[in-house]
């Protein structure tokens, strides 16, 4: 087991299996197909992301450097949360970008009963260490346990 300490963007605790993207997550490209065509497992539709394409994102501890792409990204993430298709948590190795921050904050403020803890600034070592399927524990203070 290894621990990493980051900064809490939206608080919460959760345990979930890791799903790792080494490149930036294009939020629109990743979620659009799932949200548009009723895929409840939120299968990633971004052909340009070989780490995630075709994998189910629902309920995973999504580990990534940051999000990229259209500035609709935040509202797409908000929609994913509202429709119950969101990851269990989002864990960023870099400081969070404005689009992912907007999406997670909007979900935290405007949606009742939705919890998607978000922690950023976990460092490059975090993304090098974590692998798909590892168990991730997110604690309230931004500590991430990977086992």
């Amino acid at each position: 087991m290894k621990e990493f300490k980051g900064r809490v963007v939206t608080p919460g605790t959760v345990t979930a299996p890791a799903l790792v993207s080494h490149g930036g997550l294009n939020t629109l490209a990743s979620f659009q197909k799932a949200l548009q065509f009723g895929d409840k497992k939120a299968t990633c539709g971004d052909q340009n992301n070989p780490d995630l394409f075709g994998k189910e994102m629902l309920g995973t501890a999504l580990c990534l450097p940051q999000t990229i792409g259209s500035t609709t990204g935040g509202l797409v993430l908000y929609c994913a949360c509202a429709m119950g298709r969101q990851p269990a948590c989002m864990l960023f190795s870099k400081p969070i970008d404005s689009l992912a921050a907007a999406g997670s904050i909007l979900a935290s403020v405007w949606l009742d009963g939705i919890s998607m803890p978000v922690v950023d600034s976990l460092g490059e070592e975090f993304l090098e260490y974590v692998k798909d399927g590892m168990t991730i524990h997110v604690k309230d203070d931004g500590v991430i346990c990977v086992e």
Binding site: T71, Y78, S98, L99, G103, L106, V109
Partner: protein
Amino acid sequence: MYLTDEQQAILSGSKGETMAKVMKTLVMYGETFGADKMVPVTSKYNHLVTSFGLKMMKPVFDLMQQLIDAGAISQQKFSVDPRPLDKNVPANFLMNFIFNNFMYSTQESYEAQLKELGLMNEDAFTCACYLDAVGNKPGKGDVLSWAESSAVVYANSVLGARCNRNSGIMDIMGSIAGFVPHFGLLTDEGRKATWLVKVECQKKPEAQLLGSAIGMKVMEDVPYITGMNQWLGDELNDQNCAYLKDFGAATASNGAVGLYHIAGLTPEAKELGDALVKEDAQVYVIDDAELERVKNNYPVMWKNADATPKLCFIGCPHLSMQQLIDWTVRVEEGLKASGNNKVVIPTVFTTAPAVKKEFEKTEYAARLKNTGVILSYICPLMYMNNPLAGKMPVITCSNKLRTYTTARFYTEDEILVKITKGGK
């Protein structure tokens, strides 16, 4: 973050629960990025990125309705990104069925919401809201709450306004509250360049290709670009503004650039010169070979890379009046040289509704129609954002459209040959 008594009161619920949530959203957003205070939004108009009644966006429409019902409506009127549909743009029966009955089935009701929220007018649907005919052109130093990436980078860089690269929905939150958190590109420090880009090309680089190369290199950082004055001079005339519009859109979509400076041309670079460049700035040298390398590395997303193009889009971001005139003349000359009367690939030029109306008053409108080119107000990105259109071999000289869809990029000269002469 410091809040005034009034802002603190709103956060505590003095203007109702919904306004308290609007404030909480902005405070959390600001604190995430180390904002020290809120600053007033000073532009006359806002601009929203969400123009499309996509069925999957029901949670956004519900949120909008919550704002309307609570009277949490901005004092600013706004323009909004382009409409996703236009019956004049070629689409087969199945595509039209999916567009109207499945994907964009909530377009009408969403546009009704936009009117309630403060849409400027019926023609205010464009990504290039700063074009003169549209009338949403902020002044230097204005603080904005915009989100459309190509408009944000243009407003910051060419107009000298101040706006962060916000997400959709966050744009309307700042406009409703009347202030936005002070961080990033709103600060003097955040507007300094962390990259020095030296352009050493032998000929004027194509805007969309140069922007792509710089965007992919600097990502979300601020570049200070030298070596362009031999082609652009030192005046922000119509031609240069159109060039910078396309250049900026490519930097923002191929990377995540929200502000760039062009030495001797853009407002802050003219005022402050290389004092804008941070001491430890990284250096990126671009020559013709580098641009060729960048272009050759674009992935071809077509199922059959040798397919004959079935559609061409020019105008992402929307074309200016001068660009429409220039393209009309170029297509005419291309057709004359090739001995054809009409374009050989269905071709759509896209522009703002207000620009389209102005263009249609000129002699060039009939000349363009004679070439077979379709003029539309559509968002080509929204048109292509579905599985059926995604399978079509579409060509474009827009690097934004290439990035977000399966459209294949060619330079303007290459596009001209393809649509007027033909060939794969």
